[in-house]
């Protein structure tokens, strides 16, 4: 808190059902990405790199893995004396029973006591399921300069796609004058990224009111932001132009992985001045056998490749047997492709085994195949 006086809350509650079986046992933010990471590594590393010390992670769904993953805050250096990553689930209080989070704003409201305990001046609210690198400290400086009550990060989207997003209409200077959720006729192409900085005192008052309002859906987009605009508060749009990807579907998750094969990929995970931190264990380097053939690949330590890999992302501890072939695919941690098997345009889930000579995926398919069950081999 010393550095920024800003506390971050990550909304990680999503069941992420469009990711199908990948989120059966883990919350969406804990889904694997990029050879060695999990999605939530991105907001957490961004926080650490932006000098934010305390991060709350709000979740109520299958929190065990997410819990034990983020609670080890040391992975992001967030385990010093006054820092920490805390998983916040709904809880029973002296004056209320156990209840689920009713909306994004309610999730924050139910944890006002947690936030108050740190007495921050600013509150940063993030989603747990986007891939991007962003310096929140710069955004905070913008928030202060503008004397804003709330600052919302936005990015320009192609005008013809704008009606799929929450769009911020601003005056000439960047002050938000209107917010439209999926407008039929968008007036601007500035889409909200779901990243907010609030002056905590102002937000706190609004949340307390909102909790009492039986009409409210307790959501930032539906209730809090419109209310603030109605009250003529200072809301400012902070434009972001770097790499950003919502990985909410199998196709977009696959795509975001494939982006890493691009030699000039904008995300650049190799940039040592803004590292993305994650779990790391002392496994051996990747082993590329005499029989291997690799052409365009992104491979993590612990993987063993004996077969052919083309345009694919291979995670920790994957094994690709001699004679196997992996093309245009993503193999999540521990996936095994046996001899003679061929994987094409597929996303293979953790620890899945593709048996001998099995063929999965289709080169011509428009959609990416999710393989979440072992595939039997053929002789």
């Amino acid at each position: 808190m010393a550095q920024t006086n800003m506390l971050a809350m990550i909304l990680a509650g999503g069941r992420g059902s469009r990711l199908h079986e990948l989120t059966n046992k883990v919350a969406k933010p804990a889904v694997s990405y990029g050879g060695k990471y999990r999605i939530i590594d991105f907001p957490l590393s961004n926080c650490a790199n932006s000098g934010i010390d305390v991060v709350g992670v709000l979740t109520q769904y299958e929190s065990v893995l997410l819990n034990s993953y983020v609670a080890a805050g040391g992975r992001w250096g967030l385990d010093t004396k006054d820092s920490g990553v805390f998983v916040l689930t709904p809880r029973e209080k002296a004056d209320s029973g156990l209840d689920v989070y009713r909306g994004t704003a309610d999730a924050i409201s139910q944890n006002i006591d947690f936030i108050d305990a740190y007495d921050p001046e600013y509150l940063l609210i993030l989603s747990g399921d986007h891939i991007y690198k962003m310096n929140y400290d710069k955004m905070l400086r913008f928030h202060k300069e503008k004397g804003a009550d709330a600052t919302i990060a936005v990015r320009g989207v192609p005008m013809k796609e704008a009606s799929r997003f929450g769009i911020m209409n601003t005056d000439g200077n960047g002050r938000i004058i209107e917010f439209e959720e999926k407008p039929a006729k968008p007036k601007s192409n500035l889409a909200s990224m779901g990243i907010y900085i609030f002056t905590w005192k102002t937000l706190r008052k609004l949340l307390v009111e909102d909790m009492k309002n039986p009409e409210s859906s307790h959501d930032f987009g539906n209730d809090i932001i419109p209310k603030m605009l109605g009250d003529d508060k200072q809301l400012w749009a902070y434009e972001f132009s770097g790499y950003w990807k919502d990985v909410g579907t199998i196709d977009s998750l696959w795509e975001a992985n494939m982006d890493l094969l691009d030699s000039d990929n904008e995300l650049n995970l190799n940039d040592t001045s803004w590292k993305i931190y994650t779990e790391d264990n002392g496994i051996v380097p990747q082993y590329i056998a005499s029989t291997a053939k690799i052409d365009e690949a992104y491979i993590n330590q612990g993987a063993a490749v004996g077969g052919t890999v083309q345009r694919s992302v291979i995670f920790t501890n994957c094994k690709i047997a001699p004679g196997a072939k992996v093309v245009d695919s993503v193999l999540m941690p521990g996936a095994i492709v046996e001899e003679g098997a061929v994987v094409t345009r597929a996303l293979v889930a953790e620890n899945i085994r593709i048996g001998k000579n099995a063929k999965v995926g289709d080169k011509k398919s428009e959609e990416i195949l999710l393989v979440a069950k072992n595939v039997k081999g053929e002789d």
Binding site: G34, G35, K36, G74, L260, L261, S263, L269, N270, K275, I276, Y277, T278, D280, N281, G282, I283, V284, P285, Q286, Y287, I288, A289, S290, T291, A292, I294, D295, E296, A297, Y298, I299, N300, Q301, A304, V309, V313, I314
Partner: protein
């Protein structure tokens, strides 16, 4: 049985010298397989054996090891109950005849005497092997012997292991003598410089050594007491690599390119811990050709790599060919370079030289941070 012994990790004796690499760091800090440091192996052995009070002796240039070890959390050592304690010996330079393990122990005697454990296990920071020390300790205690020495039976004692000691055993595995390997025969029992004894005997031997000669090592003291003490050998099996020369270092790495050897050594029930650097995965570009190699993370591979070990954050340019070599972290090999049978140290940039090849058995060595 846990916690009856504390661990001691010793640094290399003054006569051990690995050409090149040794100029920049102690052997314990050498990069191993591109990802580990040599000292990760003894520390992990202790940690996995449930021995969590460990003294690590550091001599010259301690910075890299101090940074690498840090608080020891990555070695799974509870920072409250256990302790990885770094002990410095500074009075003499690394190659001084006074730089002996005994003098290091004398300098830190207060710390040794404060340890509450009854036994001590001493292991070297410059050898790579896997050993369950708890099992070794249990056997030592059960046999009632004074000192147990870990040894490894080798059949290349003429070519290698020349800076090591040899253990001569009688039929009952009693140690008859301990002496330098003179390369007189192919088959020898190489001492792994790993000893189990009671803390009391350890302190006694250290004190006695001090009275007899300022240049004595613990191994000397044990050798001198083969007659009077009950000293027994305990045979180690599996991968074993003393890093006592550039040849030995090179060979130790290369041996693990054999997949079966590697899988036998790196097993999930006996993890070797190391410090993470948060390096991203390695990118293979169109045109890259890699076979029979270990590649570390954050690499950018555009050229050809054969039978080699490539460290972290290494760039291999287009058309470059790397054969039978070890390239350490942050090296940058320009397009079209040919490297064979070489050890390239950290931060090297090969820009203008087009060919680095050693024609002898000993690999070529390129110095840290050199620009060629």
């Amino acid at each position: 049985m846990a916690n009856k012994a504390f661990g001691v990790i010793n640094s290399a004796a003054n006569y051990i010298r690995v050409e090149g690499l040794h100029d920049y760091r102690p052997i314990g800090a050498f990069s191993f397989l591109g990802r580990f440091r040599v000292i990760d192996f003894p520390i992990s052995n202790f940690s996995n054996s449930g021995i969590n009070r460990i003294h690590v002796y550091l001599n010259s240039r301690p910075r890299s090891i101090v940074e690498h070890i840090g608080s020891g959390r990555h070695y799974n050592i509870n920072s409250k109950r256990g302790n990885l304690q770094l002990l410095f010996t500074q009075k003499n330079g690394a190659s001084s005849i006074y730089n002996t393990d005994i003098n290091a122990y004398i300098e830190n005697c207060e710390q040794i005497e404060r340890m509450p454990q009854d036994y001590v296990i001493i292991a070297p920071s410059y050898m790579v092997y896997k050993q369950d020390f708890q099992k070794l300790l249990d056997e030592h205690v059960e046999s009632g012997t004074d000192i147990t020495i870990l040894y490894h039976k080798v059949d290349q004692a003429k070519e290698y292991y020349r800076a090591c000691n040899v253990v001569n055993l009688n039929k009952q595995k009693g140690v008859v003598s301990l002496e330098r390997n003179m390369g007189t025969a192919k088959e020898k029992n190489i001492s792994m410089d790993t000893y189990v004894m009671s803390k009391q005997l350890f302190v006694d031997l250290v004190r006695k050594a001090r009275r007899e000669s300022s240049a004595y090592s613990l191994a000397d003291m044990i050798a001198l007491n083969c007659d009077t003490l009950d000293i027994r050998g305990y045979q180690h099996k599996g991968y074993f690599a003393p890093i006592t020369s550039l040849d030995d270092y090179y060979r130790a790495n290369m041996e693990l390119l054999d997949y079966a050897t590697s899988m036998e050594f790196f097993k999930s029930d006996w993890p070797f811990y190391t410090k993470t650097t948060d390096a991203c995965p390695t990118q293979y570009f169109h045109g890259a050709q890699v076979v029979n190699s270990m590649i570390c993370n954050a690499g950018l591979i555009e050229g050809t790599v054969e039978n080699s070990i490539i460290g972290r954050n290494v760039h291999i340019g287009k058309g470059a060919i790397i054969k039978n070599s070890i390239i350490l972290s942050y090296a940058d090999i320009a397009d079209g370079t040919y490297i064979e049978n070489a050890v390239i140290d950290k931060w090297v940039k090969v820009k203008n030289v087009k060919k680095i090849v050693s024609d002898s058995v000993t690999p070529a060595y390129v110095k840290r941070s050199d620009i060629l």
